[in-house]
């Protein structure tokens, strides 16, 4: 009952919020939802299945470029194009996953494989003319909802929120399914899982494909929020780190982790930009980095698990 009550209140606040806050805060909230969505997608593979990917920018870019190219050159609505992108991203993930999982790459070696795959994608995007190459791909602004283009921030706010709710619902179902239980078992001990009848190869592939497809949807959102795609922005290592850092800070393998992580990092970033951006160039980034280090040092398991732990201790300490 308490949960339903809290959920309703949070839901109503989120629905009313964009109409009350300034454009800056609208932007900030959109970024929070959007990175929480990407974090949620990454979390399926990294947090639940325990397979750390440092190359999710590749799937993101496939989603972004596919829907953009289909819309610009073939007049296909991004609302359809984003699912084409999701399928292509899932196919690429199955290719990488086959190489990695069939040949038993674990830990750092799998991370390096995902990183290398993303680098290859970046080089491809830089040299393929239809993708705009080094110049990048521009999308003309024609405020037409069917073209995923809107005036003002509020529609983007609700789309980003919708994406996040959708991904969180997927993870919520995952936690209650055979697939999710198997993924966690694989994360905890792959050999023991295999001995207990878990087809570890197959389930890791499923986690990878699901994670990649969701990430690609986020790419389409980005393309039509920024109207410009450039390989060195959307397809570089920094972007892969941006995707994975939020669930890591918030708490891997938890549904609230990516959301709390995204909120916290966005507030930290905004804080350092507001108070230090005017000073020496780059100082705000340094401050952001220092704050990030502090968070990781003091909350090594992530914000959400630490909060849960503290709360439980607090409740146990009190006589009831």
């Amino acid at each position: 009952m308490v949960r339903i009550g809290v959920g309703t209140v949070v839901g109503l606040i989120l629905l009313a919020l964009p109409f009350w806050v300034s454009s800056t805060w609208q932007n900030l909230l959109i970024t929070v939802f959007y990175y929480a969505f990407l974090g949620q997608a990454w979390n399926i593979l990294g947090g639940y299945a325990g397979q750390l990917s440092l190359g999710h920018a590749a799937f993101f870019a496939i989603g972004a470029y596919t829907s953009a190219v289909l819309a610009v050159h073939y007049a296909v609505s991004p609302w359809l194009g984003m699912f084409v992108g999701a399928v292509l991203a899932a196919l690429l993930s199955l290719g990488i996953g086959y190489l990695g999982f069939r040949f038993g790459l674990r830990g750092f070696y799998f991370i390096l494989l995902t990183l290398a795959a993303a680098e290859i994608c970046r080089l491809v995007a830089l040299h393929v003319p239809i993708l705009g190459g080094y110049t990048g791909l521009f999308i003309n602004f024609t405020p037409n909802p069917w073209q995923f283009q809107f005036k003002g921030k509020i529609p983007y706010y609700f789309i980003a929120l919708g994406f996040l709710v959708f991904a969180s619902a997927v993870v919520w179902l995952l936690e209650r399914s055979k697939l999710g239980t198997y993924l966690v078992a694989i994360r905890e001990d792959e050999d023991a899982s295999e001995a207990l009848g878990v087809d570890t190869f197959r389930y890791k592939m499923m986690a990878y494909a699901l994670s990649a497809a969701l990430t690609a949807l986020g790419g389409t959102f980005y393309a039509y929020f920024q109207y410009y795609l450039q390989p060195n922005t959307v397809l570089n290592l920094n972007h892969s780190v941006d995707i994975m850092i939020r669930p890591i800070v918030g708490g891997m393998g938890t549904i609230l982790g990516p959301i709390l992580g995204s909120l916290l990092l966005e507030l930290l970033g905004e804080f350092s930009r507001t108070y230090f951006a005017g000073a020496t160039a780059g100082l705000s980034v340094v401050i952001y980095g220092v704050l990030l280090i502090i968070v990781v040092l003091f909350l090594p398991r992530g914000v959400y698990p630490t909060l849960v732990h503290r709360f439980r201790r607090l409740m146990r300490g009190r006589p009831t």
Binding site: T181, V184, A185, E188, D189, A192, A195, L196, G197
Partner: protein, 246 residues
């Protein structure tokens, strides 16, 4: 009819012949003990039988079907499941969740798996600890959990790798009772064991492995009197000079 048949299995690691032309049968309903000194190749035999390693030569058949090329999960699905010598609980999952993973081998939905897991916990005497995480369990409970998880998959053959190791005599007696109860449910068991009390109490037949080769086999009380077995364990050679430390 034998459920499990191992024929001429060999496994070489570099220059080491870990297992050399080992053959044996596990008939339906039997508890077969596999003993031998440390490093004799017992666990390697398990790794080959359960699909974790490929034999360099020889075949393993289960209910008449060759297991060549099958990965462990596929062998588990056919009804043969192993435990690990060093218990490997899923450390951050509760005991109940650990067993649910095993039970999901039989059913598609968590709700049914939870039902099976609760029954298995009851059978293995772990119900009270169902909510504890894997990392909080004591050694005897970890051993029980290995057994419980394996049992949850609904096996016809259990491969138990030293489930008694490191237990006190009381705990060993309790676990022997549990293995008997499991056997009583019609599950055939291949048992690697160092604790002779358990081997003698449980096994209908015992095989002795030394330096990767089977050197003896038969009823437990005969095997322990076999001079070759005594030699393998105590290290007495023909000059009689090697035994003892002083």
């Amino acid at each position: 009819m034998s459920l499990l048949r191992v024929t001429g299995v060999s496994k070489v690691f570099g220059g080491l012949r870990a297992v050399h032309r080992v053959s044996f049968d596990l008939p339906e309903g039997e508890i077969l003990g596999l003993i031998g000194p440390n490093g004799a190749g017992k666990t390697t035999v398990f790794n080959v039988v359960s699909g974790f390693m490929r034999p360099d030569e020889g075949t393993v058949t289960y209910r008449g079907e060759s297991l060549a090329g099958l990965r462990p999960h596929a062998i588990c699905r056919r009804g043969m499941v192993r435990t690990f010598q060093i218990a490997r609980p899923f450390l951050r999952l509760t005991l109940l969740e650990n067993v649910v993973v095993g039970a999901l081998e039989r059913v598609a939905h968590r709700r049914e798996a939870l039902g099976i897991a609760e029954k298995i916990l009851d059978l293995t005497g772990l119900t009270e600890k169902a909510g504890q995480p894997g990392h909080a369990l004591t050694l005897p409970d970890r051993k029980r959990l290995e057994l419980a998880r394996a049992l949850a998959t609904g096996p016809r053959v259990l491969l138990l790798d030293e489930v008694m190791a490191g237990l006190t005599p009381t705990e060993t007696s309790r676990l022997i009772e549990l293995v008997r109860a499991i056997h009583g449910r019609g599950i055939s068991i291949l048992l690697i064991e160092h604790v002779m009390k358990a081997v003698m109490a449980l096994s209908q037949r015992v095989l002795v492995l030394n330096y990767g080769e089977l050197i003896a086999g038969g009823r437990p009380e005969d095997v322990v009197r076999d001079p070759r077995v005594i030699e393998a364990y105590l290290g007495v050679d023909s000059t009689g000079a090697e035994a003892g430390g002083d």
